[in-house]
């Protein structure tokens, strides 16, 4: 059985079916991410004054990822254009670039997640707060039994609010040192994972969902670049339409990042 309108346009819609399908899907995706952006706004405006983090994310890495995604969107478009002019070799090259750029994006994102995972805020018994990256836990470290020590590279502050704005002159001039803290001095110890506060919760939710989209898109693009490209020999026009549809999804993923980057990294 032939699937209708995979190549030629439907007379009533004026486009082929897959294209209408991907646009309807993208419309639903706008609402999915819209809901999460809405949650971000509510969490941000509802935060206690001075308690919404600034400067917690590495702008350099965010910028690199922004440019990587922009480049990958361009190579996706060029891959489609190469198909249109029947230059299969160029298609393979541009789509390979897209896959490499996407994997680099995911690699950088994983590094950022890891950085947050080993970053700890430690409430000390004397009322101060130690904050920094975990270097070492002693073999006998047990917070419940109050045994052993933990070593971090960071700083100790007397007010938790000082940890919120890392762009403040005080935070910028702070000296980061190694601190070895006995478990007996620790009241609470928590990494910068999703449950740390509302910012990390929405950060991991938004970027995690986006990363899943990148991963899904990469899998589809890799399939079309590899085994899926066999279709080129028997039906190049239909294959080209597949590339267009996957490209539209990829551009959408880029569009989402265009808003995620400023919202999370720059404001």
């Amino acid at each position: 059985m032939d699937i209708p309108y995979t190549i030629e346009n439907r007379p009533d819609t004026g486009i082929y079916n897959a294209k209408l399908g991907i646009w309807l899907f993208l419309a639903s995706e706008v609402m999915l991410f819209g809901g999460l952006f809405s949650a971000y706004v509510l969490l941000r405006v509802g935060a206690e004054p001075g308690m919404w983090p600034h400067g917690w994310l590495d702008v350099r890495l965010g910028t690199i990822n922004t440019l990587l995604l922009a480049l990958s969107a361009i190579t996706t478009l060029l891959a489609w254009a190469a198909c249109k002019v029947r230059e299969f070799g160029k298609f393979k090259f541009f789509h390979a670039c897209t896959i490499l750029l996407a994997l680099t994006f995911l690699g950088i994102k994983s590094y950022e997640y890891h950085d947050k995972w080993i970053h700890y805020e430690i409430a000390l018994a004397n009322g101060t707060f130690a904050d920094g990256h975990l270097l070492e836990k002693s073999a006998d470290f047990d917070l419940a039994k109050k045994t052993g020590t933990v070593t971090i590279h960071g700083r100790i502050v007397d007010d938790r609010r000082k940890l919120m704005d890392l762009r403040s002159p005080e935070a910028q001039s702070a000296r980061l040192e190694e601190h070895t803290i006995p478990a007996g001095d620790i009241k609470k110890m928590e990494n910068y994972g999703p449950k740390h506060n509302t910012f990390t919760a929405i950060y991991f939710t938004l970027t995690g969902l986006h990363a899943l989209h990148i991963l899904g898109g990469t899998l589809v693009i890799t399939y079309l670049w590899g085994p899926g490209s066999r279709m080129w020999r028997r039906d190049p026009e239909r294959f080209t339409n597949r590339i267009e549809v996957s490209g539209l999804f990829w551009h959408f993923v880029d569009l989402v990042w265009i808003f995620l980057f400023p919202v999370l990294y720059l404001t």
């Binding site: 809405s38 922004t66 996706t76 254009a81 393979k92 762009r167 190049p236 551009h251 400023p262 720059l266």
Partner: protein, 126 residues
């Protein structure tokens, strides 16, 4: 993949033609190279502008900065949607679908902004 090096030599007479028609779009690889170069340059500029705005000293609060940064992000998004996704020259049906999406999205964000100004009785404020 070695059997794919020859791109369907007998299927299409326009195999090595420089241009092709895609729906309403005439595709010319060289013109796409130029378009992509311009788009990337503008993305580079807008990203730099957002970062510069973020680190600049514009008043006390973040409100003005956030508004400016989001305005630049909208320009960036327009480029991607308009040129890379060909939204500037799409079919009416797609515009209709997107018009509904825009209306619902504005409604969602409108409700969000509305909700930030009103709290249920008994809400503890900091």
């Amino acid at each position: 993949m070695s059997d794919l090096k020859d791109p369907a030599p007998n299927v299409h007479p326009a195999t090595h033609a420089p241009a092709s028609v895609a729906g309403d779009h005439v595709v010319n690889l060289n013109s796409y190279f130029r378009l992509c170069a311009v788009v990337f340059l503008v993305v580079l500029c807008t990203t730099s502008a957002m970062i510069a705005t973020s680190f600049s000293h514009l008043g006390e609060g973040w409100t003005l900065k956030v508004a400016l940064i989001l305005a630049i992000a909208v320009v960036n998004a327009f480029l991607v949607a308009g040129y890379l996704m060909h939204l500037l020259s799409e079919k009416k049906l797609i515009y209709t679908v997107l018009a509904f999406t825009v209306v619902f999205f504005i409604g969602l964000m409108g409700l969000t902004v509305w909700a930030t100004n009103g709290f249920p009785p008994g809400t503890v404020s900091h």
